[in-house]
Amino acid sequence: MTEKKIRVLVAKPGLDGHDRGAKVVARALRDAGMEVIYTGLRQTPEMIAEAALQEDVDVVGLSILSGAHMALAPRILELLKKNGQDQVRVFIGGIIPDEDLPRLKEMGITGIYGPGASTEDIIKEVRAAVQLRGA
């Protein structure tokens, strides 16, 4: 019997030490039936790309509260691509100023969630992104 599960890497790049948001999202995705690999705090882009590769995830969720998203996000996208994982969808949660949204989208970030975002929306959009990929 083939059993396909959505695998998600939830990672915290950079130096901020607040992972409540990451844990809430990890828990919500778990309750939606997904397999969530949590990396812990203070990951470099290299560590995140390596974990995404080893775990063969469908989705990477980044939690960034430090304001360094415009430096970290493109680096992670670039490394995923370099490793041959262009198909992996990347989501960001955290404190992201509105003016950065268009550029992040343009880079290829699939979804961006600030404070107050509903976990239901996140789940829905993760599912949609993965289905899109599978089709």
């Binding site: 019997m1 083939t2 059993e3 396909k4 599960k5 695998r7 990890a26 828990r27 995705l29 778990r30 309750d31 939606a32 039936g33 997904m34 397999e35 969530v36 690999i37 949590y38 990396t39 812990g40 990951q43 470099t44 290299e46 560590m47 390596e50 974990a51 590769l53 080893q54 775990e55 063969d56 490793n83 041959g84 994982q85």
Partner: protein
Amino acid sequence: MSLTESVLAGNRLALARLLTQVENDSPEGRRALAELFPHTGRAHLIGITGAPGTGKSSLVNQLALHYRKGTDRKVAIVAVDPSSPFTGGAVLGDRVRMRDLSGDSGIFIRSMAARGSLGGIAKKTAALVQVFDAAGYEIIIIETVGAGQSEVDVARLAHTTVVVEAPGLGDEIQAIKAGILEIADVLVINKADRPGVENTERALRSTLELAHPARRVFRHHGQTMSVSAPAIDSTTWIPPINKTVATEGKGIAAVIASIAKHVEHLRQSGDWAARDRARLESEMETLLREALLDRFFASVQQVKYEETIEKVINRNISPYEAVKYLLNGKQV
């Protein structure tokens, strides 16, 4: 190049993708397993088990670091965490304690959800291990879910089973119960800087003495009594007890030495081959059971099956009779 060929050539992305195929039991995964099987049988499989929070992941982190020091042996880690029985989802968090291993291309960590298996590892853990074995990983560390007393499947899979204890988890009665302690080839008391470590060590040692009685002299009520017991000879393996503080890397070299000694013992006693045989036999049996069940469900009429269940629910026939009826088709 096929996925299998890429894996054999050392391509890590291909390896990661194949692991997914195998975990999901896809036709491609099954085909690849068959192709890879002749390349397996070279790795040393080390199982790490113990209660939640004893420090299994931290210990695995340290063991992998040590195995990589000064050698080019590749190390694979398969870390299993539980799946939710309600949603099937899982949070796999063993990597959090293994951040030291990042950046070494000779190490491959794969997290796995148990997906409903209750024996401490997942149904497909053995298959994932085979893929790593074929891909040239010489040391394969299998970390079980936080295990209580009876999650002992890892002992069937691994050559060497390391059971991790920590101070303060239980008294001597816990230690003489059947189950997880019995499968230990090497015992580790982690968090050995915590109070109570002497008690834990004493309890474990007395358990081992009960399991492996030696000829010795007891002092009992002032009298010296000679107690004879089955002699242990050089072929008896007595699990060594090691004390570690894994988060600080203390005591790890001794654990590595104990594991190496155990391998030597397995090779000399012929147990290596015996364990290999037992493992493959039990794997074949499991697959046979699954295949027979699939074949049965393919052959039985859905209506007949449901009717039979109804009869059981109405207490018309017993489950035993129902099985007999479904298999032989005879009316009860």
